[in-house]
């Protein structure tokens, strides 16, 4: 049970941290922030990785894990790139000033 109780603490503290991190967001950044946070939620790729590694020679499991990893990376890489593309437009405007 020790993993579980530790994990619950982690869950609690992580949630509190998340609540504190975003206090006041200028409306300009709502869209990029949403997209960036969305990319981070693709962290579930770690679970997919773990699944593949632990599955050994179990082919169906390897396939499920691989598809899962694909979905997660689609989210992560796409999310970060698209966020960067949006933010690049803001910074370009400001440096030109």
């Amino acid at each position: 049970m020790s993993f579980f109780s530790e994990a619950l603490w982690v869950l609690l503290l992580g949630s509190l941290l998340g609540l504190e991190l975003i206090g006041k967001v200028p409306p300009t950044l709502h869209t990029p922030l949403m997209s960036g946070a969305n990319a981070i939620s693709g962290i579930t790729m770690l679970a997919a990785l773990t699944l593949i590694i632990k599955s050994g020679e179990n082919l169906p499991l390897l396939i499920i894990g691989s598809i899962s990893l694909g979905f997660a990376l689609f989210n992560v890489i796409g999310g970060f790139l698209v966020t960067d593309r949006m933010l690049a437009m803001f910074s370009r405007k400001k440096t030109r000033k």
Partner: protein
């Protein structure tokens, strides 16, 4: 290989720190871009940590490597291509699509562990009941996130309309039924770890569809933001399933931050989360209660030509871009028009309502894409006192955000929503496709005012005509 565990631990700690700094930084304009990169680095670190740790403890077979590389390449490439290709106007759909895929990933992990319990990452450290319960949460939230996001994307793209039955009470019945079935499946699965698996997946899928389908296009960003929060919860649940604390903390952070962001968005739109999720289309109820209804009595319409003549004589022009502009993808044409005006020494500024565009902050992105200087974009509180000294206001595809009812009429459902006081200006032109109401379904008193003229037509077409007229008048072509 004893040194690997502490190294992995250090990597995880660093990754969490970077992720937290990333989310924090993303909420400030100056640091946003670096913050996004920090978060990306954190993800790479975290993945490296998992690989290193596994290599050191149980080893990674060649077979596993092949499947890892396959999944990475295909998912990563598709993601990169999508991110590069997508037009900025389609941003809400894309975020929804990415988000749905994240939910799907969590769902698949839980599915894999449920079907093949030997793959349980925690090696019996986690009790069976807790493990099963984590699987249930991961399946449930993952499925809702996926189907909800895909429906949101399809609706925003216009592939799906709102079926009429979803506006009736029947949808509540449908949703409750799905939730109950998912709950029963969940209880089964928690107890014996096998039965009820597909029951819960299918019911959760349907629930995601049933909840998202009735929601109107303008409320969709709130839903996407909420689903984004869910995908964080799904990731945290997957963390319990495979026994990864890093996953739990990151998922919890995104889940909580997403919830706050959703709340902030709701505030900007003067909507409560409950009414977005359960209220259905705002229009139906407001017409019934009679508040804000009524017929238009004094509509003046005019041609782009008249509009151009007025603009020529103006000294200060304020542009109010809205949803319609984004949908018509007219931001580049708008920029050409304003360039002509600027060449004629007419002062042009843009009034950005907090929820202008298809998603809060979306309009800023679109105008930035069309090369509008950042300093010409003014937020509502800054621009509102300036309207009395303005000659011409050009409202492009915005409606509810310029409705004076929100300030004057206490019975109006819009009352209390922050709006732009465009009626204070000398002349107001409203470019609009027809007399249909905004997404709130409420009559806009602005259109009836003496100093307001309507220019009917698609925003892009009207702006194109306006551009031609201005050029014919010789505006901005010095010498």
């Amino acid at each position: 290989m004893t040194f690997i565990a502490p190294v992995k631990f250090a990597i995880d700690l660093l990754a969490v720190l970077l992720l937290a700094l990333g989310i924090k930084g993303l909420s400030k304009v100056r640091s946003a871009r670096e913050a996004n990169r920090l978060a990306a680095i954190a993800m790479i670190l975290a993945a490296f940590g998992v690989l290193l740790n596994s290599q050191g403890t149980i080893g990674i077979s060649i077979n596993s490597w092949i499947w890892i590389i396959c999944g990475t390449l295909i998912g990563g490439l598709l993601g990169a291509i999508t991110a590069k290709r997508v037009p900025m106007t389609a941003m809400p759909e894309v975020v929804a699509l990415f988000n749905g895929c994240g939910g799907m990933s969590s769902l698949l992990v839980a599915l894999g562990v449920a079907l093949f319990p030997s793959a349980d990452g925690s090696d019996g450290v986690v009790g069976e009941l807790i493990r099963n319960f984590s699987i249930v949460v991961s399946l449930f939230v993952g499925a809702i996130t996926f189907s909800g996001s895909i429906v949101a994307m399809a609706k925003l793209q216009g592939w799906l309309s709102t079926p009429s039955w979803t506006q009736s009470k029947a949808r509540h019945f449908f949703n409750i039924l799905c939730a109950v079935i998912a709950l029963i499946g969940g209880i089964y699965l928690s107890i014996d770890g096998q039965n009820g698996l597909f029951l819960i997946v299918v019911a959760s899928f349907l629930l995601g569809i049933g909840v998202t389908l009735p929601i109107g296009g303008a409320d969709m960003p709130v839903v996407i933001s909420l689903l984004n929060s869910y995908s964080g919860v799904a990731a945290a649940a997957a963390g319990f399933v495979v026994g990864s604390q890093l996953l739990i903390v990151a998922g919890a952070m995104v889940g909580a931050a997403g919830l706050i962001l959703t709340q902030v968005m709701c505030d900007g739109m003067n909507r409560s989360l409950v009414s977005v999720l359960f209220g259905g289309a705002l229009g139906a109820s407001s017409v019934a209660s009679g508040g804000g209804g009524g017929e238009y009595t004094n509509i003046t319409s005019c041609s782009p030509e008249e509009c151009a003549l007025t603009l020529e004589a103006a000294e200060r022009v304020v542009i109010v871009p809205g949803y319609g502009l984004a949908v018509a993808q007219a931001q580049h044409t708008l920029r050409e028009v304003t360039r002509v005006l600027e060449n004629a020494d007419i002062e042009v500024t843009y009034a950005i309502h907090p929820v202008a565009g298809r998603m809060p902050g979306h309009m800023n992105v679109l105008l930035a894409e069309a090369d509008v200087p950042y300093e010409q974009l003014k937020e509502m509180d800054v621009i509102n006192p300036e309207f009395p000294g303005t000659d011409v206001v050009l409202v492009l595809g915005a409606n509810d955000v310029v409705n004076p009812q929100a300030k004057n009429d206490q019975t109006s459902p819009l009352y209390g929503m922050p709006v732009l006081d465009v009626q204070e200006a000398r002349t107001v032109f409203v470019v609009k496709r027809g007399m249909s109401a905004g997404y709130s379904g409420i009559k806009n008193d602005l259109f009836d005012l003496q100093n307001t003229s309507m220019v009917f037509g698609d925003a892009k077409k009207v702006l194109g005509d306006l551009l031609l007229e201005l050029k014919e008048l010789g505006v901005g072509s010095k010498g």
